[in-house]
């Protein structure tokens, strides 16, 4: 029996909510016994104490909320079969990837390479993820931004960022 999905957005949204709800319940309460047995007895995910309604344990509120979320997810699923809804718009992976990678690169390269280089890397990678990429423009932009950031964030606001890479012993800009 094939179920006709009338609203693709709601269909996936419903599953997402159910997944989150179940996730929080399982982590909060711990994996049930029959799953533990499959994995050889050890508790796969230890839960937290549930407590009672008088003394709510750390698991109490999460379980209640997780349950509500899962139920709402089911309602959304139901809606997706019953009511017409929009399709899921196309995922554009390119901007997503480049923006994410550029911010990660910045974060993990900041300490080794210093603010100046890390910023340049971020600007280049994120600009590459856009529609137009003209090297000269991007280069000028990155220089301007580095100068601006050093002036405002390091000098003006005294944020403790290393400006020069860690392999340069004495930094001209402090």
């Amino acid at each position: 029996m094939a179920i006709k999905i009338k609203s693709q957005q709601d269909w996936w949204a419903g599953w997402m909510f159910i997944a989150f709800g179940v996730f929080f319940i399982v982590v909060a309460m711990g994996t049930p016994e029959f799953i533990n047995k499959i994995f050889g007895g050890a508790k796969l995910i230890p839960g937290y104490q549930l407590g009672s309604s008088v003394r709510m344990g750390p698991a109490y509120f999460p379980v209640v909320l997780g349950g509500m979320l899962a139920v709402l997810g089911l309602l959304v699923l139901f809606d997706s079969i019953v009511e017409e809804g929009p399709k899921v718009a196309k995922f554009h992976f390119r901007p997503l990837l480049f923006i994410a990678v550029s911010s990660l690169a910045f974060a993990y390269l900041l300490k080794p390479l210093g603010l100046a280089l890390a910023s340049v890397i971020l600007v280049f990678i994120s600009a590459y993820g856009g529609h137009e990429f003209k090297i000269k423009e991007v280069a000028i932009m990155s220089v301007v931004l580095v100068i601006f950031s050093v002036l405002v964030f390091v000098k003006g606001l005294s944020l403790p960022f290393p400006v020069c890479p860690s392999f340069i012993e004495i930094c001209p800009i402090r």
């Binding site: 957005q9 709601d10 996936w12 949204a13 997402m16 909510f17 989150f20 929080f24 982590v27 909060a28 937290y48 009672s52 008088v54 003394r55 709510m56 750390p58 509120f61 999460p62 909320l65 979320l69 709402l72 997810g73 309602l75 959304v76 809606d79 809804g85 929009p86 899921v88 554009h92 901007p95 997503l96 923006i99 994410a100 550029s102 911010s103 990660l104 910045f106 974060a107 993990y108 900041l110 603010l115 971020l122 600007v123 994120s126 600009a127 993820g129 856009g130 529609h131 423009e137 932009m141 931004l145 950031s149 964030f153 000098k155 003006g156 606001l157 005294s158 944020l159 403790p160 960022f161």
Partner: protein, 517 residues
């Protein structure tokens, strides 16, 4: 009455006072708070003008910066960004038919039409006059209603707070657009994510999977920047549009006599409606401007001109959005409840400063409370004076292509998030939330309710715990007759849900939002 003016005097004194500050190693004496107000207003206007970045993302970006400022300077600046954005948004709505701010969407309808007939100047002036009047009135409204409201709130116990938060979240969801069930689900998801971290009561590290970086929970700035900032950039990059910016010439600014006569009533109506809608949890500038336009269209004798350049169509929403933006601070300052995403961020800012939001802020920190209120009026004054001469500059900024803007925004966000705890992990989380936000938007789920839930999650749990402890485990305490306030809140919440779920009103709600898109 005298009490109110006395309090406002305290506020103004605080706003204008001279302070010794050290900027970049140079010691000087400045009226620092005014300076912060100016920076906030200018920045707000800037991002109001620029489409693709709004007050939520900007405030989130600046939260780490406010750590170094005094509480009042921080809050004044951030508030300036919010209502400043209302001014900036109207400028582009009128001149370029591009709403820089979501609450300016309605202004495009008649404002741009006025501009096309060569009446851009009077349109802009009307928006400015209306906004300033509404800002002044709203300041007085806040000054008048906040103290009694805070007095009532001081009597709240944990049960009342819990019920109030439930009402606040429900109202915020009900008044927003989009699917109701999904919005509630997003709120609950936010509540759950807010619980990540160390449970204060038991010391247990929850949902952290052994990551010690999560011991203090997920940084709230991280979530805000991820869900609103990163997500917005990715969404903007998806569109390959070549935006043709057609700017109308501004011409002379002064509205004619006829214009002045016609704008009086809409400004008054817009101000009143905006003030009311702003106070409601879930309200704010956006709801106010939509509501005022709809009301004005129904009530005005020039309603046939709406959509073709009726000055009422600019005056009413512009007054309303300013009034709404300012009065939406009332639930924040008196009850500690955020009525929209911007207020949620304000709570974050207060928490960074170590201030617990709630009714006690008014009594324990009167300078902060009244200073904020006074600063809103001063900010409005600054905006009116500065904006009109600076219009040319704002227009030039619109021509900056997005490919220059977004790497800059991204860099500032990354720097801001990194500076929270000087660890790359926070940026990683920001990217994750960016992805989550992107997925949610694709699936038709709004991120704003999630951030409200995120902020309130730990607070709700705390109050729930205490209420249960006091009632010895009786869950019916929230609706027991011995707690009429709590019962009232919950009944109101249920009533709201029922009303909106009714098919007739559900259609109306969708209509209001379809009309404007």
């Amino acid at each position: 009455m005298e009490g109110m003016f006395g309090n406002l005097a305290i506020g103004f004194a605080e706003v204008f006072k001279l302070q010794a500050v050290t900027v970049a190693g140079i010691a000087m004496t400045l009226p620092f708070n005014i300076l912060m107000c100016l920076i906030g207003c200018l920045l707000g206007t800037l991002i109001g003008v620029l489409p693709g970045i709004g007050p939520v993302a900007t405030i989130a970006m600046l939260l780490p910066v406010t750590f170094n400022l005094s509480p009042i300077a921080a809050l004044i600046m951030l508030a300036g960004i919010y209502y400043g954005a209302q001014y900036g948004g109207s400028t582009t709505a009128i001149l370029v038919n591009l709403p820089g701010e979501s609450s300016s969407v309605v202004t495009c309808l008649d404002g741009y039409q006025m501009a096309r007939r060569g009446r851009a100047g009077p349109a802009l002036a009307t928006a400015a006059i209306g906004s300033f009047f509404a800002g002044t009135v709203a300041t007085l409204v806040v000054a008048m209603f906040a103290p009694p409201l805070a007095e009532v709130a001081l009597k709240f116990g944990p049960a009342e707070y819990f019920s109030l938060m439930v009402l606040g979240l429900v109202a915020a969801v009900v008044l927003a657009h989009g699917s109701l069930i999904k919005a509630i689900a997003m709120v609950i998801l936010g509540l759950l994510l807010g619980l990540v971290g160390t449970d204060v009561n038991s010391g247990v590290l929850r949902f952290a999977f052994g990551l010690s970086e999560l011991a203090d929970g997920i940084g709230f700035v991280t979530v805000a920047m991820g869900m609103f900032g990163i997500c917005e950039i990715i969404a903007n990059l998806e569109q390959k549009e070549k935006r043709e910016v057609f700017t109308s010439k501004v011409g002379k600014l002064m509205p004619g006599k006829e214009d002045f006569k016609r704008m009086v009533a809409p400004i008054l109506r817009g101000t009143v409606l905006g003030s009311c809608l702003g106070i409601l949890p879930g309200g704010g500038a956006l709801l106010a401007s939509f509501g005022a336009y709809t009301l004005e269209k129904k009530v005005s004798k020039y309603s046939h001109e709406f959509g073709k350049g009726a000055i009422e169509g600019v005056a009413a929403p512009e007054s309303a959005n300013n009034a709404g933006a300012q009065t939406s601070f009332i639930p924040l300052l008196t009850l500690g409840i955020p009525s929209n995403a911007v207020m949620a961020l304000m709570i974050g800012a207060m928490m960074i400063q170590g201030i617990a939001p709630g009714p006690q802020v008014m009594t324990e920190r009167p300078q902060l409370f009244w200073g904020m209120i006074a600063s809103m009026w001063v900010g409005n004054l600054m905006l009116v004076i500065l904006n009109l001469p600076l219009i040319g500059m704002w227009i030039k900024l619109l021509t900056v292509p997005y490919r220059y803007l977004y790497p800059s925004i991204l860099l500032f966000m990354a720097i801001g998030v990194f500076s929270i705890s000087n660890q790359p992990f926070d940026c990683f989380l920001m990217a994750c939330f960016g992805l989550l936000g992107y997925v949610c938007v694709k699936l038709g789920c709004e991120p704003a309710p999630m951030i409200l839930g995120f902020i309130l999650g730990p607070l709700m749990e705390e109050n729930l715990r205490r209420a249960m402890l006091l009632s010895r485990g009786d869950p019916w305490v929230f609706v027991s007759p011995s707690k009429p306030i709590s019962m009232g809140f919950l009944i109101a919440a249920v009533a709201l849900l029922v009303i909106i779920a009714l098919p007739a009103l559900r259609k109306k709600r969708q209509e209001v939002f379809v009309e404007e898109t």
